[in-house]
């Protein structure tokens, strides 16, 4: 099913242009901080909210919303996964999944219900009442209910946010697999970076009601187009510097008196101001040993200023004349005896130093 979804949605502070070629990217993630307008966009796509005049939504050759056109939600043939699942409490699991199958002949419905439950890894829940389902089970049932009528577009609103952390982690990978298997173009709204990385093929970054960047997930995460996007996608260290020149196929940047090397950015000229973005995972910490070869071009002597546990890893704040944030695993942290005051060397590959034009009037 290769349809293009194009939308311009204006509502309150939002003014979003979006164009998704669903054949290119089965799963598109709308990513941004809470209150950025992602859910508004999703609800307008579903027809649950009406955008303001000047808006336009088209899916393939169907016009969903325009000046004098409004296709009611029930005719858009979409599947919508609500944040809190919104299962019908008075119906069983099978009743919920079969709810949208009124267009099917009655005798075909049971098979379709089983098929949809199986597609959501929830076949075993068929006879259960809705009450008493765990968060993860409710999520699968809600997905089965959305898949059962074979929608042409699937909209997921923060699909994992209502779940506890272990369930979320377990379901995250599953969800991606289930969505790909279902083969239905999907738009997922999330403010969770890991969720965005795990679920999406393409990512559209929404900040303050505007679409800031749209492209393959890796591209957006590794090459954010602006400081705002960089901050939202979670580059952990963002520094201001200026370009001192291009040597040895590297771009040299001066950051507060320290020289950092980055993969060449020929578009930057000597003296240009630039943002230097370094992800916490890309900073390696090692014991200070000046005799080591300088393979990572950036080796900075640093002092640990703080160590915070962050899930399975440690977030380490370093003072190297510039402030850096690094992520290391707990065993590494123990091996290096990381604690405030500890002398350490921070190594950053040049390829991990990402440069962004510094916009003069932003942030």
């Amino acid at each position: 099913m290769a349809a293009t979804l194009t939308a311009r949605i204006r509502r309150h502070v939002c003014d979003l242009h979006l164009s998704l070629d669903t054949s290119l990217a089965p799963v598109t993630v709308l990513f941004g901080p809470s209150g950025a307008g992602k859910t508004t966009l999703l609800r307008c796509l579903a027809g649950l909210d009406r955008p303001e005049p000047g808006s336009h939504i088209q899916f393939g050759d169907q016009l969903w919303d325009a000046a004098r056109v409004y296709l009611p939600t029930r005719r858009r043939r979409i599947g919508y996964l609500f944040q809190d699942h919104a299962l019908f409490p008075h119906l069983s699991v099978a009743g919920n999944v079969g709810y949208g199958l009124h267009h099917l002949p009655r005798r075909q419905r049971p098979a379709r219900i089983r098929q949809a439950l199986a597609a959501a890894d929830a076949a075993h829940l068929h006879d259960r009442p809705t009450r008493g389902l765990s968060g993860g089970e409710a999520q699968r049932v809600a997905l089965a209910r959305a898949l059962a009528p074979q929608p042409q577009l699937l909209l997921l609103d923060e699909p994992l946010s209502a779940l506890d952390t272990p369930t979320r982690t377990r379901l995250r990978g599953d969800l991606r697999r289930l969505l790909l298997a279902a083969g239905i173009p999907t738009v997922v709204v999330t403010h969770d970076r890991t969720e965005a990385l795990t679920l999406g093929d393409h990512i559209a970054v929404v900040i303050d009601g505007r679409l800031h960047q749209h492209g393959p997930v890796e591209e957006v995460f590794n090459r954010p187009a602006s400081a705002a996007v960089a901050a939202v996608v979670g580059i952990d260290t963002i520094l201001t510097g200026h370009v001192t020149g291009h040597h040895d196929d590297l771009t040299h940047i001066d950051v507060a008196g320290h020289t950092l090397h980055a993969t060449p950015h020929r578009e930057l000229n000597r003296g240009d101001r630039t943002l230097v973005c370094i992800r916490g995972d890309d900073i390696a910490l090692e014991l200070s040993d000046p005799t080591r070869p300088a393979s990572p071009r950036n080796r900075l002597a640093a002092v640990v200023t703080a160590v915070h546990p962050d899930g399975p890893v440690l977030r380490v704040t370093l003072d190297a004349g510039i402030t850096l944030t690094a992520y290391v695993t707990r065993p590494t942290g123990e091996h290096l005896d990381l604690r405030p005051g500890r002398q350490i060397t921070a190594a950053i590959k040049a390829t991990a130093v990402h440069l962004i034009d510094h916009p003069a009037n932003e942030g």
């Binding site: 649950l48 939600t73 029930r74 919508y80 609500f82 919104a86």
Partner: protein
């Protein structure tokens, strides 16, 4: 006790409830869920019987049902019968005067529904009517029961409107509440007392049932 009057009362209350509920459900759904501002005005109009003296309502209904009004004339031409001072006329008046008792509990129930469930229904391809029948009503059983009980009980207890519109015709429009008035007028205090006690018992029973329904899942103080 006047068994004939009890039968009239029961029939009137039962029919009023049967007619009113299917009428009240879509009205209440519209009032509770509509985005239109006019809904507030309509809600006020529907609540009028709560504050108007029954005689006022009775007067208007009587006028409307009489052959002097277009509706009364139309009814007489199509059915060949008049409405004033008949059981049918009384039923019409009763439906109008009990309207708020049927509509208000349903409005409260519908307004308390989780909006996402209605949205989920729409996304799954259902119309508003389908959503009302399949989601809103099954989740508003308590409201529906309250509406039915209140309508029935209020119709049994109605006096002013019945007297104005129905007159006092035995077997047709004389209800239990009117027999008490008649007994007192005839200085038959013993009968009036018996009927009053029966009505009091009935009202108490109905209300106790109603409130026990509601109390079943309410919020309580935490244990000390």
């Amino acid at each position: 006790m006047d068994w004939q009057a009890i039968w009239v009362s029961a029939r009137l209350a039962g029919l009023t409830t049967l007619i009113l509920l299917p009428l009240a459900v879509p009205i209440a759904a519209w009032l509770a869920l509509s985005r239109r501002r006019i809904a507030v005005v309509v809600e006020a109009v529907i609540a009028l019987p709560l504050v108007l003296p029954p005689t006022v309502l009775g007067f208007y209904v009587l006028t409307a049902l009489g052959t002097a009004s277009p509706f009364g004339r139309w009814w007489q031409q199509t059915t060949g019968a008049t409405l004033a001072f008949t059981f049918t006329g009384l039923l019409v008046a009763s439906v109008l005067s009990s309207l708020p008792f049927a509509v208000q509990p349903l409005v409260a129930a519908f307004a308390g529904l989780d909006r996402r469930l209605l949205e989920a229904s729409a996304v799954l391809g259902r119309t508003r009517a389908g959503t009302l029948l399949r989601v809103a009503l099954p989740l508003s059983k308590a409201g529906l029961a309250t509406a039915a009980v209140l309508t029935f009980a209020h119709t049994v207890g109605e006096f002013g409107v019945v007297l104005m519109v129905g007159g006092n015709i035995p077997g047709a429009t004389r209800t239990v509440s009117i027999t008490i008035y008649d007994s007192v007028q005839a200085f038959d205090y013993a009968t009036a007392a018996r009927t009053s006690a029966a009505m009091l018992g009935f009202a108490l029973l109905v209300l106790t049932t109603l409130y026990s329904l509601r109390r079943a899942r309410g919020t309580r103080w935490p244990r000390p």
